[in-house]
Amino acid sequence: MYEITIAALLTIITAATPLVYAAIGEMIAEKSGVLNLGVEGMILVGAVCGFATVHFSGSATLAILVGLVAGAGLSLIFAVLVLGFQATQVATGLALTIFGVGVSALLGQDLVGIAYDGLPKISIPLLSSLPLFGTLLFAHDIMVYGSFILVIATAWFLRRTRAGLILRAVGDSHDAAHAIGYPVIRIRYMAILFGGAMAGLSGAYLSLAYSPLWIENMSAGRGWIALALVVFATWRPWRVLVGAYLFGGITILQLHAQALGVGVPAQVMSMLPYLATIVVLVMISRDNNKIKLNAPACIGKPFHPTS
């Protein structure tokens, strides 16, 4: 029983990690006032590029980097359209997802059915041999540790640094930020690229560690769940982490329940993460004040410096 519990908890961590990356990235983009609905597409492209890299080069480090760059590259298309060409953010984000699904399927056509061992686990000496929590907390692959560092760094960046303050200011009122003299467009480019890079990492984690292989549409809606997580977290990094683990838990719960042969059809169990997303969204959104006070005021609004 003890081993099963530990195993379940470990899988929760692996299920939550991609959500942490994608949601933190999206949160930063949204903090700058940009809603990028293309997360799902960026995750898929990150996943396929990461997997292709590890397959052809054998280097996991390079694969992670390529996933990051691929996600950022895809988000650059979004950024150019939205910031340069004044395209609507919602439509462009949807287009990015559709495009990402297509491109990843195209790139990955020859990769289907190939397996990979998964990212190596890095056990932290001494700590990992602690009883009970040792393996749970200190024997993961590098991207799990990375996700925690990311949350800490993001929280610190937004609260404590001047750059973080400026980023929030741009999302709160781009007109005011522009009037004071901050380069709104440049800041938003960087925020979007960061969001894309993190979505790329999220994808790389899926295809390198979570289920180390490539299948079309393997993200299965995680990009959208990440978007919901940002709302759930009311744009705060620590709550993103909590939300991601909550969803990781639900995902794993349904997998284990299926394995244990609970008398509920597999499909019903598989619906759980999606239904949970809806429930959580409703719970947070019903308090209009909470959303209004925390959401970046300029989110989704176009900005043209001369108008």
Binding site: L81, Q86, G102, V103, A105, L227, L281, V282
Partner: protein, 364 residues
């Protein structure tokens, strides 16, 4: 920057029509480059993609078959998008329409009556509406973002269909395949062009396009949709209810998507199976935008996108190109269109580096 964007005093009416054409041309050019990179002969690939599928009468009919769900859903989504209601879950509503319409067909599989088909149509539309009513309720009552709720419900709907065809609705004589019985003749849409697969659904689609066009351009309902989408506050001032508009858009989208789902299972597919749509509900979003959110535009856009589906299949068969090329084409078309749309509200001003005002660098 070599050019800058200057806001036009008024939207350019010419550009509204020209920009989709520019986008189409740019997509084709990118397609040529893409085929070149993939090592395929661009001329042959483009021919296989865009000409071969419609070189026969059967091909034209197939175009109508493919375009039917795309146009039906696209035309309804375009109304919602105009009102600023982002129903992204048409795929789920389509699935529910297929489940409800198909359910009626399976219930009456031994009945031979002219009433079965109309009943299926009603059930399909109601099923889609039911599924769309959930995000509408959650949005109007709890302010929950309809993009995310409608999308999550799509995943749920597809799982629901899978549950049904794996379980209670599985064909008892089907060797355990996850498929329902084949629908009876009275539950199948009649073919309207003998010798092809073009069915009654195409006529329903054309009728829907005309109806929506009249509603949008001639009636106060269409006027309300536009006002609320462009300036919700002005809409409230005029006494139009945003909540009612959310309900209207989502229910219309749900009804049409449900209808499309029912038409798919009752027409080209003829039974319920786990995958009844290659993402028509999502692709219809592209159709709506490429069609400028205008019913007649959607009609043409639906045909173009349908051609890209047929082209994908044809290129796969004749040139061994992957089917995923279709999705890439569709995404690119939408990207280029969104980029070209900037010309509707802005015009390009080319700055020559020699005539621009002196921006001295002496003071840094």
């Amino acid at each position: 920057m070599l050019f800058s964007l200057v806001k036009r005093a008024e939207y350019s009416r010419t550009m509204v029509y020209v920009s989709p054409l520019i986008a189409l041309v740019l997509t084709l050019i990118s397609g040529i480059i893409m085929f070149q990179v993939m090592g395929a002969d661009p001329a042959k690939a483009l021919y296989a993609f865009f000409a071969e599928p419609i070189s026969t009468k059967y091909g034209w009919a197939e175009l109508g078959v493919k375009a039917t769900p795309l146009i039906l859903i696209g035309v309804a989504l375009s109304v919602g998008f105009r009102a600023g209601v982002w129903n992204i879950g048409a795929e789920g509503q389509l699935t529910l329409g297929a489940i409800c319409g198909g359910g009626v067909a399976l219930w009456f599989y031994q009945v031979d009556s002219a009433f079965v088909l109309p009943l299926m149509i009603i059930a399909g539309a109601l099923g889609g509406m039911l599924w769309a009513a959930i995000p509408a309720f959650l949005k109007t009552r709890f302010n929950a973002n309809e993009i995310l709720t409608s999308l999550m419900l799509s995943y749920v709907a597809i799982l629901l269909l899978s549950l049904l065809v794996h379980g209670p609705w599985r064909d008892p004589d089907g060797f355990n395949f996850p498929e329902s019985r084949i629908f009876s003749n009275s539950a199948t849409l009649p073919v309207i062009w003998p010798g092809t697969r073009l069915h009654l659904g195409w006529l329903i689609t054309v009728a829907a396009v005309i109806t929506v066009w009249v509603i949008m351009s001639k009636t106060i309902i269409g006027f309300q949709v536009n006002v609320i989408g462009q300036a919700p506050q002005a809409g409230r001032h005029a006494g139009f209810s945003v909540k009612r508009m959310i309900w209207f858009s989502l229910l219309l989208g749900g009804a049409m998507a449900g209808l499309a789902g029912m038409i798919e299972v009752s027409g080209p597919i003829g039974q319920l199976s786990p995958s009844i749509s290659p993402g028509y509900g999502f692709t219809a979003i592209i159709v709506a935008f490429v069609g400028r959110l205008h019913p007649v535009g959607v009609l043409f856009a639906g045909l173009v996108i349908a051609l890209s589906y047929l082209g994908g299949e044809s290129a796969q068969i004749t040139m061994n190109l992957p089917l995923a090329v279709t999705g890439v084409f569709q995404g690119m078309l939408l990207f280029f269109l969104l980029a070209c749309d900037v010309l509707v509200a802005y015009r390009l001003k080319f700055d020559s580096p020699f005539t621009s005002p002196a921006r001295g660098r002496q003071h840094v």
